[in-house]
């Protein structure tokens, strides 16, 4: 008897009939050919989140982003006019990489008044105009106005900086995100400026890793240690209270008693001592009022909502803090993973310790996912089994792979 009511169709999956209920293949996550198809069909078409405006705190702030699957390196910069722009990180002279520190393949960040190519000293202002060419007289009819940095479409939604590598994106960012996501317009992400950032290079296809974060069915099995031994129940299941799909994006909401309102034996001593833990600080003030977009299913009591924004972005909102995951494919069986936790800045040591406890516990369990998924990838690649059944709690996995297939098929 499920705890949370299912829709009229008796399952979330059947509530979205286009999803089907059959087995799926994970061929899209083991095939090098499919990886190549994802490049043009997805990563050079969709809006991709590369950072937040807080990563560009002042005029002249910049950061670079390596988007290996798109063969792109993008520099994102806040100009002297305060506008955020993005450019291909390529000097217009002979194609040298423009912005980098010690190692050209690594991302860099900082601030500057102009970009100078290390090779022949060509200079560009922060709006991308070519402003200086060494020994300009040696060139032939060179008009610097023709040699500005190649622009990349760039737009900001609620502080999230998105780029689009398409020559002419078919949708604006808002249109791409759609109503379910833009219902978060009022969520004050910008107030959560205390960040704990993580990075990893994982031995799994980006989608195999993303799947682990869009279902909680695995939690009792893979992360039993989230519950102290004394109260761990065998065959403990997990049910999400609400699932919702909107275009290529999807979300799930959990509900029920907040962890810290459970009896003490449901928490570890360190959680009780710091009044924090995997789900974050106990006592931080709630956001009031909660934007309606945060709990579209009207789940009472509300737990968390996990927003999956196609193709490779997750925003998980805990209430008064949030986390972000991004998965950047680097081959058919590897990807670069980025994550961060964002809190309102700690006002004192107690709050700092609360945040530290949440950040530490996050990493412990994320490593369990990563550790296991390398094995998942290896086993998938044997190709011995190619039909896999998904249950109703795994609806978002189903929707994700279907969306990927739709985009690749349409290209």
């Amino acid at each position: 008897m499920p705890r949370w009511p299912k829709p009229a169709e008796d399952s979330w999956t059947e509530h979205y009939p286009e999803l089907g209920t059959g087995t799926i293949s994970f061929g899209d996550s083991t095939s090098p050919e499919f990886y190549e198809l994802e490049r043009d069909a997805i990563f050079k078409k969709a809006w991709l989140n590369v950072g937040r405006v807080e990563d560009l705190p002042r005029k002249g702030s910049y950061f670079t982003k390596e988007i290996q699957i798109a063969n792109a390196s993008v520099v994102v910069v806040r100009g002297m006019d305060d506008e955020v722009r993005a450019f291909h990180n390529i000097c217009r002279h002979r194609g040298n990489k423009l912005v980098w520190d010690e190692f050209p393949r690594e991302e860099s960040r900082g601030f500057c008044r102009q970009f100078t190519c290390k090779y022949h000293g060509w200079r560009y202002d922060l709006e991308g105009n070519c402003t200086f060419v060494q020994q300009e007289g040696e060139f032939f009819d060179l008009d610097k106005a023709d040699y500005g940095l190649a622009p990349v479409h760039c737009d900001v939604w609620n502080g999230f900086v998105f780029v689009n590598l398409d020559r002419e994106p078919s949708q604006s960012v808002r249109e791409f995100l759609g109503p379910m996501i833009t219902a978060l317009d009022e969520y004050p992400f910008h107030e959560m400026s205390e960040r704990y950032d993580f990075a990893a290079d994982n031995n799994s296809n980006w989608k195999v890793f993303a799947d682990a974060f869009q279902e909680y069915y695995h939690v009792p099995a893979l992360h039993p240690q989230q519950t102290p031994v004394a109260v761990r129940k065998p065959d403990m299941g997990v049910e999400c209270a609400h699932f919702q799909i909107d275009g290529p994006h999807r979300l799930t909401t959990t509900g029920g008693v907040r962890r810290w309102n459970l009896p003490q034996e449901y928490m570890y001593p360190v959680e009780i001592a710091t009044r924090s833990g995997l789900l974050g600080p106990w006592d931080a003030p709630d956001i009031e009022p909660l934007p309606a977009g945060l709990n579209p299913g009207g789940v009472e009591p509300w737990g968390i909502t996990n927003f999956q924004i196609f193709p490779n972005l997750e925003i998980l909102i805990y209430g008064n803090w949030y986390l972000v995951y991004r998965y950047w494919p680097t081959s058919s069986n590897t990807h670069h993973f980025e994550a961060y936790l964002a809190f309102p800045p700690a006002r004192n040591v107690r709050e700092r310790v609360e945040h530290e406890c949440a950040a530490v516990m996050f990493k412990e369990f994320a490593l369990q996912d990563a550790g296991m998924l390398g094995g998942t990838q290896a086993a998938l690649e044997t190709g011995v089994v190619d039909e896999f059944p998904l249950n109703d709690q795994e609806i978002l996995v189903r929707h994700f792979h279907k969306t990927v297939a739709d985009w690749v098929g349409a290209a």
Partner: protein, 418 residues
Amino acid sequence: MARYPKPPEGSWTEHFGLDTAPVSYADSVSPEYYERERQAIFRRAWLNVGRVEQLPRKGSYFTKELAVVNTSVVVVRGMDGEIRAFHNVCRHRGNKLVWNEAPEEETQGFCRQFTCKYHAWRYGLDGSLTFIQQEGEFFDVDKDQFGLVAVHCEIWAGFIFVNVAREPEQSLRDFLGPMITALECYPFDQMTSRFGYRTEVKANWKLFMDAFAEFYHAPVLHSKQSPDKYSAAAREAGYEAPHYQVDGPHRLVSTSGVRFWEMDPSSLKPMENLTRGGLFGPWDKPDLGELPAGVNPGKCNPWGLDSFQLFPNFVILIWGQGWYLTYHYWPTSYNTHIFEGNVYFTPATNVRERIAQEMSAVTFKEFALQDANTLEATQLMLESGYVERFPLNDQEVLLRHLHKVVADWVNEPAGVPA
């Protein structure tokens, strides 16, 4: 205001009849184009694989892996003193004939014959098949028919060249042409003290050649190699070459010299003052006698260096300070190649001279690493295709020339382009 006079046409580029419009680098990011280069260029041109000093005696040999033409060659000085080259393949069942511990690695040494490790067939140093194990087991095998497959091999000024065409379209001398053969009497054979560098570069071979074919980059890319005072002045001045020259598929740039020993010591690195050596070589020049007219053909004074770029992939750079170096770029794929840099001096007669040479060789590597550093990233950026046209200035004329000659050879179905 240019520091050095331009030719009457107004620019070196126009003087050599080259187009001045921005170029494409499609030739450096395409696997298909690379395949065409392998056939149209590397299977037709003369390729320098070494020098006679690497074969000091009868029986000396070395092997060279030439992935670009899908072969390995063994170059050997026979008992008659002659140097020959052969495909490094046993005629029995195709085993690689000459190798040491790892078959994919080059090797060298000396021997009286070549013996195949597989079934012990033996070949003389002239390539003739001299011994077949259990010859009676074969059927009408005439050893004369099964000698090593020869590779055309000719020598110029001590440089050993091979040509894998069945019949080379030109002799080596004709291929080199007057601008290069005018260097004949340069005392390469006296400069036997060699420092060799080698690495794999993850970029198309032509892009790295381009990096060494212009010095427009020098005041910027290499500015941190010199004290600020020198670098600032160099940057302010920019770079101009006093002389460029083109002859057939080959090209040359000469630069003017810097009299380091006359400079204010604060413009130099302390170690340069101490060792009396640096990028331009040892300050104390050996006496090489009169240099052939082919050196410094532009009569630059003071003269720094001549960089002769021999098509397709070989550079001989002769320094005014009495030493020379060579570069080779051996393509291994459309976006990788093996780079070899060799620096040659006359043998040091004492420790002081040896140290000056060491300083020069070490400095060479520092500069080369800066040139190489972003090359991988450049290759990736070019392959992305987000930018497709690139403006070249007059100081980059030799880049234009290389890419044009490559295109001419690739587009020419047969016969060497004029």
